[in-house]
């Protein structure tokens, strides 16, 4: 019985913040939307000129700067839309099929 209830509700009403507010800013980070991906962007750091356009145009804030100054997708959040590959002025990004 208790198990059944837990499966349906994610939080007891007594623990709910006032007015059902969400108190942890940016908690969507817990949601790994990378699982939606069918294609994965692969960056060729050799071709990359570090312009950052892939980062600025990524709707999912997935393209992140590496220590080397080039960019890599954060596969936890990259949904594989392909905008980065389309917009990269150096054609440094290719999309590959995501296998399982």
């Amino acid at each position: 019985m208790a198990e059944k209830v837990e499966k349906r509700a994610i939080i007891g009403w007594r623990n709910l913040a006032l007015g059902c507010a969400i108190l942890e800013p940016g908690s969507s980070m817990h949601l790994l939307t990378g699982t939606w991906r069918l294609q994965r962007p692969v960056v060729d750091p050799e071709k990359c000129n570090q312009c950052g356009l892939c980062h600025i145009y990524c709707p999912d804030l997935a393209m992140t700067k590496t220590a080397a100054g080039t960019y890599e997708p954060d596969l936890n959040y990259c949904k594989g839309c392909g905008i980065c590959a389309e917009e990269c002025p150096k054609d440094a990004i290719t999309l590959v099929e995501e296998k399982e």
Binding site: I22, E24, P25, H30, L31, L32, L61, K79, C81, E86
Partner: protein, 347 residues
């Protein structure tokens, strides 16, 4: 307002702010141009701001309990009242500061709604808020239909587009009306700042949002927002389509400052609208004639904007020459007066 604009410093493309008010993990569709426009607008304002959101895609994808994509204070109340809610927030901050209850009332308030939440059901609340002169930024994310409920047409759905309630059929070629001129409606309220933005032109977008935050009074920003799901285009083309909208003159980038139009990007060699239309399957059913009608409308609208912005140039010329004329007149009168005075003193 002049002072605010004079001190306005544009973003340095090499050093854009790192803080992202909208976090990853939101649930927008792959390649959503609307969330991209929202993210960039939020980024321009930074950590110290508040977002008031209408019901719609952006609300749903960013706030499904128990996770939020927002790192700044965010409030959603209903679909049609965003501008009214923002009015309340703004008025509250102002009076509480005046009464010494809080320290600051200069926190930018970004009210966000879709085309439906703005041009249709929310138009009255928006009109009221603009007329009352609240100090806030209203961002209309225009993806040209009610996407959240499944791609129904709105008054900002473009001519010819197929939606689930403007389907092409034996007696129909899709949406049969041209878009309502929403920025012009905002301008008619005589507010200090109106602008159009487009996520493909991200610096322009961010600069305009920042500018809007520095101006006292209401600012209305209309954002072109590609929606791969509703427009039926490949996700990867969202930015490309946004750019084409400007290059074909379908969505000109302009500002209206104190009622004066400034065309920010003159497109001297426009691409044919066909190039913009052909990437989106919502237009796939259109005939050559339909496309011709759309092209003509785009030409006319662009010409109208061009004339409006040229009127500003002309007016500034006129005012200078008129000023010169007045100055001369003053000089002559002054001389005549001195002469008279001298004569008078002699007698």
């Amino acid at each position: 307002m002049k002072i605010a604009l004079e001190s306005f410093e544009k973003f340095d493309p090499q050093h854009l702010p790192e803080f992202e008010p909208l976090a990853p993990g939101h649930r927008a569709c792959q390649g959503c141009g609307e969330v991209l426009a929202l993210r960039l607008a939020a980024k321009a304002l930074g950590r110290e701001m508040m977002v008031i959101s209408a019901t719609g895609c952006m609300e749903i994808i960013s706030s499904a309990y128990p996770q939020t994509a927002w790192r700044v204070p965010w409030l959603h109340v209903a679909f049609e009242n965003t501008a009214a809610v923002a009015s309340g927030v703004e008025a509250a901050l102002r009076i509480m500061k005046e009464k010494g209850k809080i320290a600051r009332d200069d926190i930018p308030i970004l009210a966000v709604a879709g085309d439906g939440g703005t041009a249709d059901i929310g138009l009255q609340a928006l009109s009221g808020a603009l007329e009352r002169g609240h100090n806030f930024i209203y961002l209309c994310l225009d993806n040209e239909a009610y996407m959240n409920t499944g791609i129904q047409r709105s008054s900002l759905t473009p001519y010819g587009a197929a939606t689930t309630t403007s389907p092409p059929g034996k007696l129909s070629m899709g949406e049969s009306h041209f878009k309502k001129d929403m920025p012009a409606i905002a301008v008619a309220h005589k507010i200090p700042y109106v602008a159009t933005v487009n996520p493909a032109f991200y610096l322009d977008l961010m600069n305009k949002v920042k500018k809007a935050s520095l101006i006292k009074g209401p600012a209305y920003i209309h954002a072109f927002s590609p929606c791969p799901t509703g427009w039926r285009h490949e996700g990867r083309y969202a930015v490309k389509i946004a750019r084409l909208a400007v290059q074909t003159r379908v969505f000109p980038l302009y500002e209206v400052i104190n009622g004066k139009y400034f065309l920010n990007r003159k497109i001297s060699k426009p691409k044919p609208v066909r190039e913009y239309l052909k990437l989106q399957r919502r237009f796939a059913h259109l005939t050559e004639e339909d496309i011709e009608i759309i092209q003509e409308n785009v030409n006319n609208e662009y010409d109208r904007l061009l004339r409006l912005s040229q009127a500003v140039d002309l007016e500034s010329k006129l005012t200078t020459s008129f000023q010169e004329y007045i100055d001369q007149l003053k000089l002559q009168m002054d001389e005549a007066y001195q002469k008279l005075r001298a004569e008078f003193q002699h007698t």
